[in-house]
């Protein structure tokens, strides 16, 4: 995925600006759902940047993983964060002055590092398969360990989730031991087929039988 040098440069600048703009919007949106998907937009731009580096597999995997993660994160944001629907104005920022000082210092440090580090010369030949070379450079001597670790992590995640959700919302799939799960069917009275009897007032409007007791 290599464009002409100028074209790739323009696209990378556009993607960088879009990523930062989406990230700013994460903190400016009132709705948690919008904040989550603004973050997704930012991360998709990052995936595009990785694609521009020639790391095809990593870029597409970033798009895949971030989409699924943000979709699930949206659920948790709605559960735990205030104002999920954005129906009221609110602000998500705290300690604005301290945060501005800290982020300015970090930005200055990163910019100084980027400008002062000795980058390799442009005459270095681009490898034929950047993903393979990156993988070898990161994990080369320890490839077997890494693969085993990956499989062990995956097995742990699957095992913990299945153990934690062995019961569905309406009770376990298999008959539970007595004392857990919903009451067995047939122990509740059958529902009335014709609704409340005529002549009786509906229960909601019936006055409370003993209001004086709550004095």
């Amino acid at each position: 995925m290599t464009g002409g040098g100028g074209g790739a440069g323009v696209i990378s600048v556009v993607l960088a600006v879009a990523a930062v703009a989406c990230a700013i919007q994460v903190f400016r949106f009132d709705s948690m759902a919008r904040a989550t998907y603004a973050l997704l937009g930012s991360l998709l731009c990052v995936g595009g940047e990785v694609l521009l580096l020639g790391l095809d597999y990593l870029g597409v995997v970033i798009v895949l993983m971030m989409t699924i993660e943000m979709a699930l994160m949206g659920v948790f944001m709605v559960i735990f964060m205030m104002n999920p629907g954005g129906l009221m104005p609110m602000t998500m920022t705290h300690n604005a002055r301290g945060a501005a000082v800290l982020s300015g210092v970090v930005f200055a440090g990163l910019a100084a590092g980027i400008l002062l580090v000795p980058w390799p010369s442009a005459r270095t030949r681009r490898p034929a398969d950047p993903t393979l070379d990156l993988g070898r450079a990161l994990m080369g001597p320890h490839m077997l360990t890494m693969m085993t670790l990956g499989l062990a992590l995956f097995a742990t995640i699957v095992a913990t989730v299945t153990l934690a959700t062995a019961r569905g919302r309406y009770g376990p799939s298999e008959p539970a031991p007595h004392g857990s799960g919903p009451p067995p069917r047939g122990s509740e009275p059958p529902p009335r087929e014709d609704g409340p009897e005529r002549g009786q007032a509906p229960p909601a409007s019936h006055p409370h039988p003993h209001p004086e007791e709550h004095a």
């Binding site: 095809d56 995997v61 798009v63 979709a71 949206g74 629907g85 954005g86 699957v158 959700t165």
Partner: protein, 312 residues
Amino acid sequence: MADAWWSLLVLPVVLGVVACAAAGLDSVLGASALYGPARSVRALGTRAAWPLREAGRLLGQPARRTKAADTALVRAGTALLPVAALLAGAVVPLGFAAVSDPGVGLVWFNAMEALAWAAVWLTGWGPNSAFSMAGGYRFLALGLAYELPHMFALTTAGLGAGSLRVGEVVAAQDGLWFAVWMPAAFAVYLLSAVAMAFWGPFDQPVGTDVAGGAAAELSGVDRLVFLGGRWLLLVVAAAFSVPLFLGGGHGPLLPPWAWTLVKTAAVLALLVTMRRALPALRPDRFMGLAWMVLLPLTLLQALVVSVVVVLR
């Protein structure tokens, strides 16, 4: 390999025609279930043309907005579903030529159909309606269940070919189709194709018990775009099973594009009839089946395929 720009315009047309045909089949099956078999060829044609009539009706229907709806998210969600389907369809070859054949075609397909997760949830969340939100959440639960076995089925096909490029997966099936020696992966892929388009036994996200679920508050063009996008996604998922497991365009006598269409039609007919043959599966119950049965099954299948690939 067609890298011509015009293939990008041909793709939505071809997918749309196939989707209309599949929707016509579904409509004929539904009408036969409700009203009995068609009495004449003309009646059969009328039943089969129902999707086009419904599309026309929806185009003329005024849009409905609920109170305090997040309209931007609704529009983003409904538009994202067909876009995801078209982007995923860009790597599906017709015969041996696709719109694009990147070196990571399998992962690209997976990433683009994962956009449907965002699309359905946004469509469910946006209208500020309880039933549509329930539908959106149901799709995420369904996605958790089917995604891992789906990914391992895709990986197994890539393993058999030794590459993530769709063209090489097709080329590796010159002699023996992958569906023959990777049947578990093929079956799991078909199940996940039905699940990713929330079709048939997995249609709880738009189920009748939540008044239409994620599509409950959609009307007019929004509804057409969303449900049409769902059909496109089903067609693309069925079409992708052909280069992955059914040999792509390989076959005697007919030209490759005809073989692709024939095989896609067979898979689509199976998936469409699955809707009325199987009851709806609740996503959290399917989660148990998917993670306890399908996941080890696909891992075992991948192990068997790896051993075969290493030994040959």
